[in-house]
Symmetry: C2
Subunit: 337 residues, 2 copies
């Protein structure tokens, strides 16, 4: 593909470092859970580091197994890359593996790593840096079909909803591909564009590049970002929406959430308001846009009340309503095939 | 001001080069027309270069006159910076003047110029590069009042409408400041943020920085960008809108324009649709937002029909309706004081 998207070399060696807290290793966990077939193994620097359920491997073993990229699967909260990490990353780079990360420190700003990558002929892929050549959006209709996940807020399951939709569509025999617009998503998919890192004028163009022309029956299932009523990130959501030209969208929500997380004084818009605004804005580039379902993270709902909660929501909006990680999304995807 | 906005050193020497076509020198013309008090003079490399109505000056004379910046007031269509330009820019930089430009070639990528600037202790200010430190928008209400110009399309007078509004508000004794969100605007104002060059996640944060807390009766008159129904740039318009938190907005339009210029198949939204959508989106961060007028470029309307055209539009939307460069904007600003 010669479009300006990031393209990662697979299979992966997932680097966990010495991170023992699974919540901080959630990028690696996401990759291992959703794309085990892309993961040759994991590399842990200490015995109590999080176990992603992959085979433990050394760099030499990974090299032997034909690994294309070492991907950093843990968050590094502040500060610089620790020395013991660097030694391993340099060894991998020098052996010819690409190093893939989305840390605050740019990989190519670390001289030791740059030298190792030069020696090994490998790439330092910073997934927070968009590929060059992203155009301004043309607004031209593309062939194939598109589904976008949108949300009442950030961080409530837009990525995992899209992945589960892809899984269920494929299980139904549909031709579907997850399209990643964020960092973890890009590692999972092996390609994508970090849409929130693109220069403002090119947001919608990046979304166009992310889901190019395709077969008439092919579905791109696009990972949403932000929230159309979010005081910080609505512009990103708007650009992604009109560039994606979705035929269908699914609204993601977290049960019990009442406010935009981290933005004091901002109540959450209702699911109905999100549907209405998404249709209003999305109609610009695709007048056929429609909401086909609701996806709720029901972690906060007692399990014995979950079915009733989902049924009530479904009846209120006359749409299939799922918890993607509990019920799957087949109730939504059934309507599409 | 320690907020992350670009700040230019005045007064200016406006560099015209050897550009004889006034349309290509419109940046310099804009600065000379709207801020003559900031312009010490112009520098033309040939006798037939466009005359901006300023005193001709050499670099030595400009230095003598205390010029702070040489600003490149002409567009350079493609290609690299010509040698005869560079000689002059280097002379200015070496003498201690900042060089300010928004060319496709980054100023700091030209070694000769970098050396001259180092020698002169001057800055190379590329107004397409946002200042560092722009935050994600907080959505917190700021003190003071704000007016934003929005448009049915790009390139139809949002900047000049904002400048005329500032002029008329000041003439009425109001405390008002033009806030520049684009390149020419920044040169005119001497400060600002190039909002379309900011990384996506920070668009609304850039807008917040652009119009910080102010006195209760102070008006920021903010230069709009793009158009909320524009298939390429709507995301920028959305981010600027919610970050600006405008109390009031003016819709800009070009008489006779029926389609988004350069985007085939996209009809222009009506002024009524733009008002409705702007209120819907802007209400997120300022529920008081309202449209206070319409500003039309009536160049395409025969002058004897202009008054009737404006009167009809005014009656249709029950709003004052002006051509800012012909009638001024006092019909709008009167309502505010």
């Amino acid at each position: 593909m010669d479009t300006p998207t990031l393209q990662l070399r697979t299979p992966y060696l997932v680097f966990v470092g010495d991170e023992s807290r699974t919540t901080y290793a959630k990028t690696g966990k996401g990759v291992a859970d959703w794309r085990p077939e892309l993961c040759a193994g994991q590399l842990r620097l200490s015995a109590d580091a999080a176990d992603l359920g992959l085979s433990d491997m050394t760099i030499a073993e990974a090299k032997q197994a034909g690994v294309g990229s070492l991907i950093v699967g843990t968050a590094l909260v502040g500060g610089s890359v620790p020395d013991n990490w660097l030694t391993t990353l340099c060894e991998a780079a020098a052996s010819g593996m690409d190093i893939v990360a989305g840390l605050h420190t740019r990989l190519d700003s670390i001289e030791r790593l740059r030298i190792a990558a030069d020696a090994g002929g490998s790439r330092l892929v910073d997934i927070r840096i968009p590929p060059p050549g992203i155009p301004v959006a043309s607004g031209k209709k593309r062939s194939g079909k598109r589904l976008l996940t949108v949300g009442t807020d950030c961080a409530l399951g837009k990525k995992y909803t899209a992945l589960q939709l892809e899984r269920d569509m494929r299980a139904q025999g549909m031709d579907a591909d997850f399209r990643a617009s964020g960092q973890t998503g890009i590692m999972i998919a092996g390609s994508g564009v970090p849409i929130d890192c693109v220069v403002a004028d090119f947001i919608s163009g990046a979304a166009e590049v992310l889901s190019p022309d395709n077969d008439p029956d092919h579905w791109d299932v696009i990972e949403g970002q932000g929230g159309i009523f979010h005081p910080g990130y609505a512009a990103v959501s708007h650009g992604l929406l009109i560039g994606s030209q979705p035929d269908a969208f699914v609204v993601c929500h977290a049960a019990g959430r009442t406010h935009i997380e981290g933005w004091e004084g901002y109540s959450l818009a209702t699911i109905g308001e999100v549907i209405e605004r998404t249709v209003a804005i999305g109609s610009l580039t695709n007048p056929q846009i429609r909401c086909i379902g609701i996806s709720v993270n029901t972690l906060s709902v007692p399990s014995e009340e979950r079915d009733e909660y989902l049924a009530e929501l479904s009846s209120k909006y006359d749409l299939p309503c799922v918890d993607p990680l509990v019920t799957g999304t087949a109730a939504i995807t059934r309507e599409l095939s």
